[in-house]
Amino acid sequence: MLLKNFLKATVFAVSLSVAGGAMLAPSFAEVVYNRGNSADPESLDPHKTSTVYEAHILRDLFEGLVMQDQNADLIPGAAESWTVSDDGKVYTFKLRGDGVWSDGAPVTADDFVYSFRRLLDPATAAEYASMLYVVKNGEDVNTGKVKPEELGVRAVDASTFEVTLNSPTPYFLEMLTHQSTYPVNKASIEKLGNDWIKPGNLVSNGAYTLAEFTPNDHIKLVKNPKFHDAANVKIDVVNYIPTEDRSTAMKRFEAGELDSNDDLPTEQLADLKAKFGDQLRIGPYLGTYYYAIKTDKEPWNNPELRNAISMAIDRDFLAEKVWQNSMLPGYSMVPPGIDGYTSAMASFAEESQIDREDKAKEILEKLGYGPDKPLKMEIRYNTSENHKNTAVAIQEQLKPLGVDVTLLNTDTKTHYGHLEQKGDYDVARAGWIADYKDPETFLGISRKASGNNYSNFDSPKFEEAMDKAAAAGGKPEERMKELENAERVLVDEVGNIPLLYYSFHNLVSSKLHGFESNVMDVHPSRFISKD
């Protein structure tokens, strides 16, 4: 008995001391934030990233011209102020006097000229180069038609950076909150080549610097004492811990190994709510889960038929039963939550499910479908338990209408490869998360020329409204009205079948403060503190 207790005590002591090491807890008084992030970044090079997992980390490491605060509202970043020309095409940014890189060199307008050119230079092969296609010559630089030097950016003087756009773009400032527009350090890239991004080498201008990066284990950021607002940065060390296994993440949170996590095993939502109470945070997020439908293929080229299918799908059931309320029923492409914009909901959104089913049945009968001539429809989806359950539920919902639904599952790469190559299909699962807070990001993907127009939607009325919105760039209210008109066309003609709006689901320790819920799910570590 004595021996057993002794063993237990020893193991416990060892575990305590090692657990300290495991969480990389440094010396006394340093505040460490162990931040669960559902995946590792693909790259820490702002010009090579595309995912939200990277966005969290890069927002801590770098500072763009403008940034977002804890409520995802726009705040000055490396630029302390800016002016827009009367025609809305020229943005002049005044850089802050106390902005420095982590090596002590000042952040200059030349750094931004270099960084904007680098994002668009074809040699960089940036996935998000298109973010700056709105800049004059942006697209031509990226496609190699003109040299990067021709890009519409210039350093007026060391602290004045000027950008010329193709046309007035009211969401340009919002776009600049995206990590792909952050500045990178020219001197270190030229000196170190591809190694500039390694811990110890990386020179950044944000609230934190990179200390360690072990793939699939942790990324350690330490507070940057040279950051202009360092006095207000409360957390000394942020450890980004990839939490691919969501169940493990919950247990690690419970054991105190994580202070927050940005995803939950939604199938356990009821239990988690009971266990974690207020620490569980779920709310609307700017993202839409939808089905693309081939609008240029028989029989789906008939908007009435597309509408009947869309109408018959019980979105409340999907949200409640399949997604355990971790998603919200969706009837528009643009999710609610963008200031000044009212989403155009499907006409049947307010009707009861029974009425909708009756109407859908009528339409199908009118079009000649019935027990003798069932409508055949194939749903393609990428591998995921919830995508499968969603498709199965829709299959069951459409069965009483005499629609013969078959399912086809492929892995993610095959799925999107097939869509991108305009392969043959009826209906395919897709999703869209906002890059910036503007309806454009959701509507642009249904434009005829967009590579993401999986439905092959081609509507002159929609294109016209979108063009009008672009032309109204200088007048925000008029522009929003035109965008609403465009969405009305898109939804009425059923260019896509919107099913659900995404929601964020965070698990946040009650010890953390400043981790505010917002529709962009943006939580810069510099505004967070820990008891």
Binding site: T248, K251, E257, T412, H415, Y416
Partner: protein
């Protein structure tokens, strides 16, 4: 013996070549590519990416380039983790997977053998049934069930172990993953050991040893065990190759930064160079461990000679 080793290593070269060639072309048959994702890329941007990684060259040229790089020890860049080369990813992850795998294998061989011998010596008695029950349970309960139970019991309820994480290699962080990896292996080794030990105990040389009046300990350990251990050795070779190259289930559940997950992730992500890296690594491990097994045979079984 040295000559034999040399000959075996020499024949490994064409084997590796065939494996590399097959893998290179097979992964290209899979639809989609490394740059297909939820957010579609415009053809121009995709062309830039493909140009950067040489994916717009004709396939035969890509193949020759790959072989050339491989001969120079260069596994190429990872497409999906461009901050790292495939070589760097393995340099960071492989030592971790080897540590866990080797510990688990060692544990399995020791515990499994002891359990197997106990069962064999108590054939059809309580000891035997207990071991068989443990072995059956161990080999039928999957690791994705065992791992969360260990996390719950030792991590959350008793708070003896961390739930997950590598903790920069702290011993305490290895306990859970090693036990999870070892349990099914213990079961297999115990069953193999039991069977071959029973057979060995019935063989002529054991009867002779007994007739000579040797002590039971000497009979069991020096004579019966030595003969019975051969099937374990044959099993341990491929098992070592598999264990040392990591397990996606255990690494994902315990958040361990090993290489096991690359085997699955790389293929799903169409990260061609990383797929090739995993294929080469597992091929080398398999070849080397098979060779070690054959050499061990010569050491253990006097009838086997490679001269």
């Amino acid at each position: 013996m040295l000559l034999y080793v040399f000959r075996r290593l020499l024949t490994a070269i064409p084997t590796l070549f065939v494996i590399v060639t097959l893998a290179f072309f097979l992964i290209r048959v899979a639809p989609g590519g490394p740059f297909n994702q939820e957010r579609g890329l415009s053809p121009e941007i995709k062309a830039n990416l493909e140009a950067q990684f040489g994916l717009n060259d004709p396939l035969w040229q890509q193949y020759l380039n790959y072989l050339n790089n491989l001969l120079h020890g260069n596994f190429g860049p990872s497409y999906n983790l461009p901050d790292f080369t495939v070589g760097e990813l393995f340099a960071k992850g492989l030592p971790i997977s080897i540590q866990l795998g080797a510990s688990a294998l060692l544990l399995a061989l020791i515990v499994g053998s002891i359990l197997g011998v106990i069962a064999a010596l108590n054939q059809n008695r309580l000891g035997d049934y207990t071991v068989i029950a443990i072995a059956t349970a161990g080999s039928t309960i999957p690791t994705f069930v065992i791992a969360p139970i260990i996390q719950l019991v030792f991590g959350l309820t008793w708070m003896l172990l961390p739930v997950g994480g590598w903790g920069n290699g702290a011993l305490i962080n290895k306990v859970g993953p090693v036990i999870t990896l070892a349990l099914p292996q213990i079961a297999i080794v115990a069953r193999l050991m039991r069977g071959s030990m029973i057979e060995s105990m019935r063989s002529h040389h054991i009867r002779t040893a007994r007739a000579l009046g040797l002590s039971e300990w000497s009979v069991v350990v020096r004579h019966a065990f030595r003969g019975a251990v051969l099937p374990i050795v044959s099993y341990a070779g491929p098992a070592a190759a598999a264990l040392l190259t990591g397990s996606i289930v255990v690494e994902t559940i315990f958040s361990i930064p090993g290489v096991g997950r690359y085997f699955v992730d790389a293929a799903l992500n169409r990260d061609y160079t990383l797929v090739m890296g995993t294929v080469v690594v597992i091929a080398i491990f398999t070849i080397v461990f098979n060779l070690i097994v054959d050499l061990l045979y010569a050491v253990i079984d006097p009838r086997v000679r490679y001269d």
